[in-house]
Each structure stands twice: as structure tokens, then as C-alpha cells.
Assembly symmetry: C3
Homo-oligomer: 130 residues x 3
């Protein structure tokens, strides 16, 4: 379903922008490549990008299987919450690491929900003879 694919691409667009922010922070805080540390604010940008990558590897298969086996519109809604939560995570983290938790939770809840729904959907398909 094309709306699910659109949400996936928007999540990837957000990740692209996070990567661009890391590149800018590398220049702004004078952390020459290949270093990944050296200025604590640069490290925050880098951690946002890395943590989002860790989340995306769960998100992409989970949203596709959730949409297939549970409900495509619920998958879209959860995906949008995930993207918003990641945006708040970015905003909070670069201001102050302790401020990252709200956005983290707001993106982790839809992500885990997509994952658990996908797991339930696949198990149901197996028991019904998938």
C-alpha cells in the first residue's frame, strides 16, 4: 500500500536530514574526519543519527509486516508518530542529553508496537496455515 511506502520514505528523509546535521556539526564544532568524538555537542548529533539507524532496522520490516497482517492505516499512523518522536528526540538531545528521553519514548512506543503487531500477525498466519 502506497501510504505505508510514503511513511517509510519520510522516515528515511528524516534520517538523511540527521546525517546532514552530523556533517554540519562536524564542521561547526571542528571535529575533523575520521574522528567520531572530540566535542560533546558533535557527539550528540552523531548519537542521534546512530540511534535512529538502530531504530530503522527494526522499523522497516516491522511496519511492512504490520501493514500486511494487522492494518495498513494503523501502520501509517504509528509510523507518523515514530517520525515525530524521532524529531523530538533530535531536538531534545542536541539541546541537552538529559532532554532526549521524551522523544526516545515517543518513537520507541510506536516502533515496539509495530514490532509486536508484526510478530502477532506472522504467528497468526502460521497457525492459520500461512
Amino acid at each position: 500500500m502506497a501510504y505505508v511506502q510514503l511513511v517509510i520514505l519520510l522516515a528515511l528523509l528524516e534520517f538523511l536530514l540527521f546525517g546532514w546535521a552530523v556533517g554540519s556539526a562536524r564542521v561547526r564544532y571542528n571535529v575533523p574526519a575520521p574522528a567520531m568524538s572530540g566535542h560533546p555537542v558533535f557527539e550528540r548529533y552523531f548519537r542521534v543519527q546512530m540511534n535512529t539507524l538502530e531504530q530503522l532496522i527494526i522499523f522497516l520490516p516491522s511496519i511492512l509486516l504490520f501493514a500486511r497482517y494487522i492494518n495498513a492505516w494503523a501502520a501509517v499512523a504509528l509510523g507518523i508518530i515514530f517520525i515525530i518522536g524521532r524529531g523530538l528526540y533530535f531536538r531534545g538531545y542536541v539541546q541537552e542529553p538529559a532532554a532526549r528521553h521524551a522523544g526516545f519514548v515517543l518513537s520507541a512506543i510506536p516502533n515496539v508496537t509495530l514490532f509486536v503487531g508484526a510478530l502477532i500477525g506472522v504467528l497468526r498466519a502460521i497457525y492459520l496455515g500461512g
Copy 2:
């Protein structure tokens, strides 16, 4: 085939648990965010998570293409060995970095097998007119 999807979700569940272990290790070994180093045992947990992410980006497309072009049950079996190997990698690495090799090999062999099988399957599909 739903069993292949189940194996994919179980591999992602293991990765989620590794991520949770990194978060706990961050608190336990007192490595405040955004630092990614500062205590050698914390760094082991972090490396398990990162290395597993590096493996998963190979694993996910490979198991799907292997299941499609070679054999779905063989894909399931190799996927289960991969998950067990990653578990041993985690156990070994957090005890002692030198003890990570057995689990690494036990997860790399099924992963490379899935990759090579997928490649053979795709090449065969091309030559047979895919």
C-alpha cells in the same frame, strides 16, 4: 513464507535486546550519553550491538532472496543458526573480547551462506530469463 518472516522478527528481537543491554550497561558502567567510550566493558556491549547491525543489513535481504530462489526451509534453518551464533557472540564478547570469535564465526557462516545462496539464485534467475 511466514516462517521466514518469523525468523526475521526473532533476529530483530535479539537486536532489540542487545540495544536494551547497551542502555543498561551505560548506566551500570557510568558512561553518560552521548559518550560511546569510557569504560571497556560498556564498549563491548556497544560493539556487539553495532556489529549485529552491520550483519543485519546483509542478513535481511539475503534471507528473503535465499528463501525465494533457493529454499525457504533451508533459509529458516540458517536464520536460526545465525540468531544462536549472535547470542553466543554476545555472551562471549561481554565476558572477554577474545571469547567473541566462536559466536562471530557461528553467525557469519550462515549469513555468508544466505548471501552466497541468494547471489546464486538471482544469477540463475537472470540466466534462465528472470
Copy 3:
């Protein structure tokens, strides 16, 4: 389409080789696990691998959606340019971090093109009633 799958597997093969190069560099420059820093040349290898992982999470969904909604042969061509660009990025970066830019751009252009094309394709499918 099997040629798109072949390009995906070749991009993953390149990433596997980058990972192998990181492992060799860890031994050659004496950076014992789990450290991710300690020798600037090792760090270059590591950054090539990490940056390629960041690109692949965009590349894989984008090339599939581009092939589906825009054109499969154009997707194959852009994918091959991406792989070549990543190879140049590797070669440049390990020689000298400042030499990484040409390869980075040569892989970023096809990757962003695949992403934008996928987005246009999905939006068109939605407006045409996908």
C-alpha cells in the same frame, strides 16, 4: 526484477568487503577490540564502513521503490554508479580523509536520485489512487 536484486547483492558484497577491511585494519594498526579509535588510519576504515551502512539503509528501500514505480533499468544504472562511488570513497578515505569527497558525492548523487524518484513514484501512485 532480478537485475535490481543483483545490484542490491553487489552493494552488500561491497559492504561485506569493507567490513573485512576494518577487521584487517584492526589487526594491522593494533587497535584491540572493543576499541573503535586509537589509530587514525584504522578510524578511516571504520568510518567508511559506518557511512556505507548509513547510506545502505536509504539505498535498499529507495532502489526497490524506484524500480517499481519509475524504471527498473534506470534503477540498475544508478545502483551501479552508487557501488562505484562507494569504492572510490573507500579508496580516497583510507589514503587521506580529505580525498573522500569525490567518492562520497559520486555515491550520494545516485542514492539521492533513487530516493527522490521513489518519493515521486509513490506520491504519483497515491494521487492516481494507489
